[in-house]
Structure formats: structure tokens, C-alpha cells
């Protein structure tokens, strides 16, 4: 049994302050990208942390914990996005969405992608996960993730210019 780099321990599941400090922005960013709504992202954020405090999951280490938060965020937004209530509601005006669309460089182009591509792009570029890890997180095959990522990149390249063409 050769020693590998020691994993960092997870933050205790009942330490709301430390968990919030470590993961709130990460959860919020993914939730906002998926829901395109500040209010929904707030809801999802609360729900994700409450689930954590309720369930007190037994994480193996910090990276497992991080993946757990991302996975639960995806689940929460998934059920939010498919809920009957939401499908019949006219989207409210969202100042944050407008702000993000007008004050950022590449974000609006990612935001314009279909939902299933957005999440993969975010996990790949922002969270730095590999295709295999994304496949596990999303419960998809690696090939599906790869093809979605290729297609998303093609779509982005058509829109983006200059220095961002390295996507």
C-alpha cells in the first residue's frame, strides 16, 4: 500500500459557518448558471445547506465533500426546473441576470447555451473537473459528456472572438 498525498479532512457536517464559507459561493454560482435566477439560486443554496445539516453526510474527505455539494446542487436545481409550478410561471425580472449579462465577458455566452451544456462547461472550466469525473457527477456516460463538451465548445467558438477562441 503505497502512500498517496494525504486528503484533507472534510469540514464537519454540522459546522454551518465553515461549510458556508467554503462552499456557498460554489453552490450559488452553479445554481445561478442553471436556473438563471437570483431568487431561485438563493432557494437552491438554502436547500442544499439544509440538506447537508439535516443529513450530516459522512464524507470521506474534502474533495468528496465538494463533489457532494455540487451533486446536491444539481439535484436541487433539477427538481426546481422540472416542477409544475415553475413551468407555469412567467419569469420575473432578474436584475442580477441583467447585470451578469452586461458586465461580464464570456459568461453571457455560456449562459446562452442549452442547460445540459451549461452545467458541463461550468464543471469543466470553472470547477476544473475531468470528463470522467463530470460523468460520475451527472450520472452520464463519459462519451455523452465528451460529445456535449465538444458541441458546447463549437457553439461558444462561433460566438466568441479573439483571445477567447482557445475555449
Amino acid at each position: 500500500m503505497e502512500k498517496q498525498a494525504l486528503p484533507s479532512p472534510p469540514i464537519p457536517a454540522d459546522d454551518a459557518d465553515a461549510l458556508f464559507a467554503a462552499y456557498a459561493d460554489m453552490v450559488y454560482r452553479l445554481a445561478f448558471l442553471r436556473t438563471k435566477s437570483a431568487a431561485d439560486a438563493d432557494d437552491v443554496l438554502q436547500e442544499v445547506f439544509l440538506r447537508c445539516l439535516r443529513a450530516k453526510p459522512a464524507w470521506n474527505d474534502a474533495s468528496h465533500q465538494r463533489a457532494w455539494f455540487l451533486k446536491v446542487t444539481i439535484n436541487c436545481t433539477k427538481s426546481l426546473l422540472t416542477s409544475a409550478w415553475r413551468r407555469h410561471t412567467v419569469p420575473e425580472r432578474d436584475d442580477l441576470l441583467t447585470e451578469m449579462q452586461t458586465t461580464t465577458e464570456v459568461y453571457p455566452y455560456v449562459l446562452a447555451l442549452p442547460a445540459k451544456y451549461r452545467t458541463i462547461v461550468h464543471l469543466y472550466y470553472y470547477e476544473g473537473y475531468h470528463v470522467a469525473e463530470i460523468a460520475k457527477l451527472l450520472g452520464m456516460s463519459e462519451n455523452t459528456v465528451k460529445s456535449h463538451l465538444f458541441r458546447a465548445r463549437d457553439m461558444l467558438r462561433e460566438q466568441l472572438k479573439g483571445e477567447f477562441l482557445d475555449v
Binding site: L50, R51, N60, T82, W85, V106
Partner: protein
């Protein structure tokens, strides 16, 4: 540079700091783990959580601004269900359920309830704290002698709550072979001390195997059942809208292992809902799942009625197999299905209780479902003593109970009832000589909304602990209430006439309760010690083993894993006679009793903590002695750490390898790689 710019863009987004306070307030309200209410809380409405309880708060906030009166939609739901007494629990038409769901969703604005794969993590955490008894006692036995295929070697079995009622785990042995499921693969080993060999490795098909917490199994002769988690999807046509609707699904995959080198899949039996727990009694496995209804569509029962499936062919549960619990609060079912593991190729039967998801206790004849609920009431807005307009909502946790009869695969609803408070885990419940016994923690809270000007909120809460005894109709026979105010139950163990439980805030009172007369239970002794036990198990005669944490007596902050041995020979004066500080800050064993092996006959107390596996024994007068510590550091996942013994060899299993330790010399004999 796209990547760098995308990261910079994202960094403009920040979670609101104010949400932290709301999350903490809400968590405090819910406190108890089983009273899960999977709802979204609207930002800005601090009290939103209460609204799904009675419709009161949302109605009240609404009323405060519009002058309307409170709209108690959910209360109507409750009274509708209660109105006709016993028969109300039965369902004659799928639309009965649909109407209940619709009313619930009107109250919480259609935020359907959710819960997907990570429910497995819920289950993990909520599950068991403790268990194990020796053969000298009536209840439970984690370790039992068995006769192996090749002789009379003794070997350990899964640490279960009730003797004779098997519980699924990631490792099983028949004394000759070891079966181990981790990281999406089944490994079968021929156990032979230093000559142990890997016989076969089978990759399991499961989309969500990475969250393989759920992969547990049962073993019966030449048949193995592996329980995993997945999804089932139906296409829905709703007002011209065409979309996919997916539901959590638990799969019980049965393998023929008569050829250990080549397990052959026989059938995959699906049951809607995420995996909660399971038991095996005789040849029958009782599989319990929690199905949350995401978005019910009228006319498409597949979106809101539990289903069973055989190799993907799905059937709906009939109305005669559906019940509504006494006070349904969640659009969710507890589904109980039975499968004959010896020769079954489909479910033998199934029943589903609508209204919430549950913790469960089972013995040879009965399964008791405990469905966590919250009860609340809201007063009209009125001036307080200072003349400020205030609306007061009070609430507390409750547990709905449903008693099921189990008989050779048949599942029958026998009775229902309720007790105040919520349960810690399966060990909080027990049945002995015709009486049920339950330990609960009641969370009581009060929310004041001041409505003059901008709404402002005040919140206060307290909790205390109760013990109830109930008869076969689930009527309360006797009780002890209001124990250990502002402390919560950390572990429970019943042992015949005596019940032990631990509550904790800063120190650990260990209560011993006399239950010999169920009508008048009484506290025999209260032992205060630093720290607390998360797991309790009787160990031999007049000893009680505790596994938990050391804690600072002033702050209650935990300080590392601790073993305790209590002398229970005088029930009126239980004392802690030995302790050991384990060299670890935390252990997964406290939340999963199946990770613990404690066998008084063999004198072994073994468990994982952090990345190591510890093997202790207990010597009277000397205390705990560390026999071996196996470093599993390179595996990084104590979730999968298990230990078992066969004869004089101890096997420590992890995702990547099996380490074999001699119980004579405590030396490592061999290490067998898996995969």
C-alpha cells in the same frame, strides 16, 4: 484565455451572507434528523418553513399585507384524511392521492418535494447509531456463530439490531467466502488466512454507482441480492407539453452465485423511491424506499403512484396497497416491498404509506415505520403586552407510527398511532413482550412575526426527551417526559426490561430506564460523564459498551473518539469503569452500526476511525487493549472499511484491498488486492 475569463466572470457572483443566518435558523427549527421536510424556503420569508406545516405562516404574512384571512389549505388536507377515522387511511382511487398532493403543493407554492440520490447520504447519516448484543440477551446479536461450508469455524455476521433479522451491508460472509461490494464492483474471496484468494470481480451496472453508499447486499445460500440506486423515467403529455419525468428507483439485483467464479444475474427488481433500509427474515427481504413526488400530473399515475418493476417492466401499486398516514405532510411515500430471495423472480408483495418518509424498526413479525412530522398552530395577529401587533406560531416535532405485520413475504397494515417528538434512528424503537418502546426528542419552537411596518421576526426554541411505551394498537401505555432539557438523544439501546439512552449538550447523561412494567416506566439511574456515546451495545454480562466522542465539559466541543465500558450490574447505579481515547478525531462508525464489530464471546471490539481500522479487546480490571491498528490511509474512504472474523483470522476490507490479521499473533498475514 476563455477559462481564466470565465472564472473571473463567475467571481462576480456571491452568495448572500444573510442566507447563512436563515439556514441556521431553519436548521435549528428542524433539528431532528428524521423530520425531514424536503422543501424549498423562499428567501425573504424567514418563516416559510412553517407554511407547509399549517399553511399558517405564509397565509399570515400574506394576510398581514392584504388583510385577508389565513388560508389553512394543509389543515383541510389533514382533516380530510382524519375525518372518516380508520377507513380514511385507505385509498380507493389514485386521484385521492393526487388531490392530497395538489393541496400540499398549493400550500408550498408548488415547490414539489425533492430528494434524489443523495438521499442515500441522508440514510447513511440517519441510519443506525448503534447495536449489538451478545447471545446471552434476547435482542440483537451482531456476531453469531455459524457453521461454515467447510466445518465448524465461527465467523462474524453483520451487526444487526434484532437477532435473527438480517440487515443488508457491503460485506457478507458464509464462513468460506467473503462477498464485498464497493466502488461499483462485487468481489468474492475464498477466505483462507494467509492464502486468501480473490475468486472473482464483477462490475455492477448502475448509473449512480459512484454514490454507491446504496450498494448493499443480502446473502442466502447460493443467491446474492445487491441493492443499488437509479432512476426511472416516464414521458408525460401535459397540456401539449411533452417532457420527461424521472423518479428515484431502487433496484434489487439478484445473482446466482453457485459458481463463485462467475456470478450470473438472474433478475433486477425495481421499486420506486430512494433506498432507505432493508431487512431479511427467513427467505424474505423487505425493501424499504422513500419516494418523493416531484411533479404529479393528473391522469398520469406513473408520476405520483409507487411502482414495481421486473427487468424494467413496470407496474403500478394497486389502490388496495396504498395507505395515507394519520397526518400526511410530505408528498412522499414509504414503500415496503418483499422479495423471496431463495427463489423469487418478482416482488411477493408491496405496500406504500403516503405522507412522509420514515425510519424503521423490524423484528421477526413486525415492522414499525416512524414518519417524522411537524405540528404547528398559528394565532391571529394581535397586539402583545407592548401594543405591538404580533402573530405567534408554535410548533413541535411529531412522529406518525404505522405498524405492519410481516409474514412470509405478506405485508399487512395492523395499526397506526403517533408520539410527540422525533426519533434518532432505528435503535430508538424496540418491541419486547408485546410492548413497543420509543425514545424521542421533542423540538419545540415559537416564532413571533411583528407586523407593524416592515415585518420582523423573533425565534425561540427548546427541546427535551421522552420515552413512550405502546400497546399493539399503538396506544400509549406509559411515558417519561421532559428529560434532559435542551439536550438531544445521541444513542439508544434497549435490553429486555431495561432501556439505555444517552443525551448530550456538554456532558453525557446515560439514562437507565426500568421497563419491566410498560405502564409505568421509570428512570433508574442517570450517569453524567464527559462526552457522549453514539453507539451502545450490551457486552457480555452486566457490561454496556459505548462508542462516541470525548468532549470538553465546559464547551461541549468534541475532542476525539472515545470507547467507554459501563458496569450495569446495579441498574440503579450504572458506572463508567473503563475508557480509551482512540487515536482519531472522528469515526464513521457512530453513524453506521454496520461498520462496528463487537463480540463479547470472541472479545473483539473493532471499527474504522478516520482512515484506520482499530481492533480492541476488553479485559476486566485492565480496560481496553489495542490489539491491532490497520492503516488504510491510501484508500481514502472509511465508508467502505469493514472488518470481520472467520475462525482465528480477522479480515479488514477496503476498496482496494483486504488485509488479513492473525487473531493469535495480531500480525498482518497477507494483503490481497481487489479489482
Amino acid at each position: 484565455m476563455f477559462k481564466e475569463q470565465y472564472i473571473r466572470d463567475n467571481e462576480k457572483l456571491h452568495a448572500k451572507e444573510t442566507l447563512l443566518m436563515e439556514i441556521k435558523n431553519q436548521a435549528r427549527r428542524e433539528e431532528s434528523r428524521d423530520a425531514r421536510r424536503q422543501r424549498f424556503v423562499r428567501y425573504g420569508a424567514v418563516a416559510a418553513a412553517l407554511l407547509l406545516v399549517a399553511g399558517g405562516v405564509f397565509g399570515a404574512v400574506f394576510a398581514a399585507h392584504s388583510g385577508n384571512t389565513v388560508q389553512p389549505t394543509a389543515e383541510q388536507t389533514l382533516s380530510a384524511a382524519e375525518a372518516s377515522g380508520d377507513t380514511a387511511a385507505e385509498v380507493t382511487d389514485y386521484n385521492d392521492i393526487y388531490d392530497l398532493i395538489e393541496q400540499m403543493q398549493t400550500v408550498d407554492r408548488g415547490y414539489g418535494v425533492t430528494v434524489t440520490e443523495e438521499a442515500s447520504a441522508d440514510e447513511a447519516a440517519e441510519a443506525p447509531a448503534p447495536s449489538v448484543d451478545t447471545e446471552t440477551t434476547e435482542s440483537a446479536g451482531s456476531m453469531v456463530k455459524g457453521s461454515t461450508l467447510n466445518g465448524d469455524t465461527d465467523y462474524s455476521e453483520t451487526n444487526v439490531q434484532v437477532k435473527g433479522v438480517d440487515e443488508a451491508d457491503i460485506v457478507k460472509t458464509d464462513g468460506t467466502y467473503i462477498y464485498y461490494v464497493a466502488d461499483n464492483q462485487l468481489s468474492i474471496l475464498k477466505a483462507d488466512g494467509a492464502n486468501t484468494k480473490l475468486v472473482s470481480t464483477t462490475i455492477l451496472e448502475s448509473e449512480d454507482s459512484w454514490w454507491g453508499y446504496n450498494s448493499e447486499m443480502f446473502l442466502l445460500g447460493d443467491r446474492l441480492m445487491i441493492i443499488t440506486q437509479g432512476f426511472s423515467t416516464v414521458w408525460v403529455n401535459d397540456d401539449g407539453d411533452h417532457y420527461e419525468n424521472s423518479t428515484d428507483q431502487t433496484e434489487a439485483v439478484i445473482y446466482d452465485i453457485s459458481n463463485r467464479a462467475k456470478p450470473a444475474k438472474i433478475v433486477s427488481l425495481g421499486q420506486s423511491g430512494s433506498y432507505v433500509s432493508s431487512r431479511m427474515i427467513g427467505d424474505y427481504v423487505y425493501l424499504v424506499t422513500a419516494q418523493y413526488v416531484y411533479s404529479a400530473v393528473r391522469g398520469t399515475p406513473e408520476t405520483y403512484i409507487p411502482t414495481l418493476s421486473v427487468d424494467g417492466e413496470t407496474t403500478l401499486l394497486g389502490t388496495g396497497d396504498l395507505y395515507v398516514c394519520d397526518s400526511p405532510q410530505d408528498a412522499a411515500y414509504t414503500v415496503v416491498g418483499s422479495i423471496n430471495l431463495k427463489n423469487g423472480v418478482k416482488h411477493a408483495s408491496a405496500k406504500a404509506v403516503f405522507g412522509g418518509t420514515s425510519e424503521l424498526y423490524a423484528n421477526a413479525e413486525h415492522m414499525l415505520l416512524a414518519i417524522g412530522q411537524y405540528e404547528s398552530s398559528t394565532s391571529p395577529i394581535a397586539p402583545d403586552e407592548d401594543g405591538r401587533n404580533v402573530q405567534i406560531t408554535t410548533g413541535q416535532s411529531e412522529t406518525d407510527l404505522v405498524l405492519l405485520g410481516l409474514n412470509e413475504g405478506a405485508v399487512e397494515r395492523l395499526a397506526s398511532g403517533s408520539v410527540p417528538g422525533s426519533l434518532l434512528n432505528q435503535f430508538s424503537m424496540d418491541e419486547y413482550e408485546g410492548a413497543f418502546r420509543i425514545v424521542t426528542t421533542v423540538d419545540y419552537w415559537e416564532q413571533r412575526i411583528y407586523t407593524d411596518g416592515v415585518d420582523s421576526y423573533e425565534y425561540d426554541s427548546s427541546n427535551y426527551n421522552n420515552l413512550y411505551t405502546l400497546d399493539q394498537d399503538l396506544n400509549i401505555l406509559g411515558k417519561i417526559e421532559n428529560l434532559a432539557e435542551d439536550e438531544t438523544v445521541k444513542s439508544v439501546r434497549f435490553d429486555g426490561d431495561i432501556g439505555y439512552f444517552v443525551t448530550f449538550r456538554q456532558t453525557d447523561p446515560l439514562f437507565a430506564v426500568d421497563l419491566s412494567d410498560p405502564k409505568s416506566p421509570r428512570v433508574l439511574s442517570t450517569l453524567k460523564i464527559p462526552g457522549f456515546s453514539e453507539y451502545l451495545q450490551t457486552y457480555g454480562t452486566n457490561l454496556l459498551l459505548g462508542l462516541g466522542y470525548q468532549a470538553d465539559e465546559d464547551t461541549g466541543i468534541t475532542q476525539g473518539v472515545k470507547l467507554s465500558m459501563f458496569d450495569t450490574s446495579d441498574k440503579r447505579n450504572v458506572t463508567e469503569i473503563a475508557t480509551a481515547a482512540v487515536d482519531a478525531d472522528w469515526t464513521i462508525a457512530g453513524s453506521n452500526h454496520k461498520a462496528i464489530l463487537a463480540n463479547a464471546e470472541k472479545n473483539l471490539i473493532a471499527f474504522p476511525a478516520e482512515d484506520d481500522y482499530f481492533i480492541y479487546r476488553y479485559v476486566a480490571g485492565t480496560g481496553f487493549e489495542l490489539l491491532a491498528k490497520v492503516d488504510m490511509g491510501s484508500d481514502l474512504s472509511s465508508w467502505y472499511l469493514r472488518g470481520l472474523f472467520i475462525g482465528e483470522n480477522f479480515y479488514v476490507l477496503s476498496e482496494s484491498s483486504v488485509t488479513i490479521v492473525s487473531l493469535n499473533s495480531y500480525d498482518v498475514l497477507a494483503n490481497v488486492k481487489l479489482g
